[in-house]
């Protein structure tokens, strides 16, 4: 039995990644618009990217809690990213979204990305509340959060310039050396994000307004060997964002079609007595 080939070796031989994907393939995405029918929120969306599951809810535009928070020119976007205690298998602590640095950073990035798209000037002196809950985390938490937030805002009917689509790209830990011509990977999972063999993996989440072709977020913490690499990674991530956009767009259109069909009474009616 010791001579048998391990599964990971077999995948490596056939140039596939540890979850069987091709280098430029994004993970399977599943999208659900308005999974929650609660009257106190105005929109919600559930997004799965592979094994990462994220739920976004939107409330608003509502009154600001304090006068001092009001902005006379535009709405204030309040973003909270929280993580369920069962979201990752490694870390079972309950992270407080107000004090946990990673969550604060994620909510900042999410806020910056969404502010680029929402037409905030239409609702002066009010507040739009966006809460993102990470239910399962297998890498790419921020990207999934951005995609879910876009759909939740759309479900709430809040005007936006465009979709915000996010996807990550990077180099695996073992190939971050300047001479290697390893393929860039798209939509990294947790194992690919983490460092292997002392070499930190390069990992760059990117968010895009796909129909205007505007980059609104690109974050990279690793040291890149040269500018060419940056370009390559950025291109790969942009391609990933476009693939994400196709999926989101189809989901949104399907959702709208079902809502309109339900209104004309042609399809099943969802009622509490069903």
């Amino acid at each position: 039995m010791s001579s048998s080939i391990r599964r990971t070796d077999l995948l490596a031989l056939s140039n596939l990644r540890n979850d069987g994907r091709k280098p430029h393939e994004i993970r399977r995405m599943r999208v659900q618009m308005s999974p929650l029918s609660v009257s106190t929120i105005s929109g919600s969306a559930l997004v799965e990217m592979g094994l990462t599951v994220v739920l976004a809810t939107v409330r608003g535009p509502v009154d600001c809690l304090r006068r001092a928070d009001e902005n006379p020119d535009q709405a204030v976007l309040d973003v909270t990213v929280q993580s369920a205690p069962f979201s990752s298998s490694a870390d079972r602590r309950v992270a407080n979204p107000k004090t946990d640095r990673r969550l604060i950073e994620a909510s900042h990035m999410l806020k910056r990305a969404m502010e680029a798209a929402i037409l905030l000037h239409l609702y002066p002196k009010s507040r739009i509340e966006l809460v993102v809950s990470v239910l399962a985390d297998d890498g790419g938490r921020l990207c999934a959060a951005i995609n879910a937030a876009t759909l939740a805002l759309m479900d709430a009917g809040i005007p936006m310039k465009d979709f915000v689509c996010a996807c990550s790209a990077g180099l695996p830990g073992t190939s971050a050396t300047p001479d290697s011509h390893a393929l860039t990977l798209v939509d990294l999972n947790r194992q690919e994000e983490s460092s292997t063999g002392g070499q930190a993996a390069t990992h760059m989440p990117v968010a895009l307004l796909p129909q205007r072709n505007t980059l609104v977020l690109a974050q990279c913490e690793a040291r890149l060997p040269n500018l060419d690499t940056l370009e390559r990674v950025l291109d790969a991530a942009t391609e990933g964002c476009r693939a994400v956009f196709d999926i989101l767009q189809a989901a949104v259109r399907e959702h709208a079609a079902t809502v309109l069909a339900a209104r004309s009474g042609t399809t099943r009616i969802v009622s509490a007595f069903d």
């Binding site: 999208v31 009257s39 009154d63 709430a156 005007p159 399907e254 339900a262 009474g265 009622s271 007595f273």
Partner: protein, 308 residues
Amino acid sequence: MSHDTISPSSSSSSVKHLVIPGQILAVSSLSDPNGQDSFLRGHGTYVEKTETEDRLVASVLGIVQRVNKLVSVESVSDGVYVGQVGDLVVGRITSVTSQRWKVRLIPHARDAALPLSGVHLPGGVQRMRTAQDSRDMRSYLQEGDLVSAEVHKTQQDGSLLLHTRSVRYGKLENGCIVTVPPKLIPRRKNHFTTILNQQFQVLWGCNGVIWMQRAMPDLEATGGPELVELQERRRVEHASMPLSPEERRNLARLRNAIECLRLVFCRVTQEAVEQVYETSLALNLNVSQMLVPVNVIRLTEPSRKAEG
């Protein structure tokens, strides 16, 4: 659910005009002096200017509507209530501050304000508001109370000021509310109606909240200054008199009739509600059976036909 393609069954005629945020709706080039292809920006759109042309882009998910040059997008989601002066609204008091009550008209939207100067206080219409009155605000209306009011003013930032300076407005007790999307309630001349053989009084709030209560027998109206007190007496009497089981059942039937219309997204008007109510009686349906999907379809058949 497949997300790769739009399922063919869901594509009907209305879906053709469905647009997503960021989709370009119209382009007008600046070099064209006649403005042949110009447009007017409506709700749900924004204009993006480039050096050579102006682009009209959708900002919400919805259906494109065009009236001559005005292009707008009607959102698929349940729309927010945009108040107009004179609208009847039904809301719940959420907080009491020094000079005003905050009234929640829609659960996920901004609260409206009901200033102390906008309510009738006992002891005459022209009475000054004293410091004592502002201390006693909770004795008139407190958190959780339902009120009917009229929109007095819309402020620059879109928030609403209300008033209840009429005998018809004020605290609501001993009845039932249903909430429907605001766009289902058309603006009418009269938003207070007594329907179904004078059985129920219904308040059609423009913010999508409908209040219903059993109709009280008319006390002899003498008019003049006593009218206010008469109305007040009637209100107190109604609030303190419990409903009989029969009245309660009828009220529940009325509530479910409105709920039926909401489920199929039909306009909630007096005629439509009465029709559903009568049909449910004719079909000998239990109150609880009314919301079973098959029955909802059956009951709302004429209303859906009328909507087209």
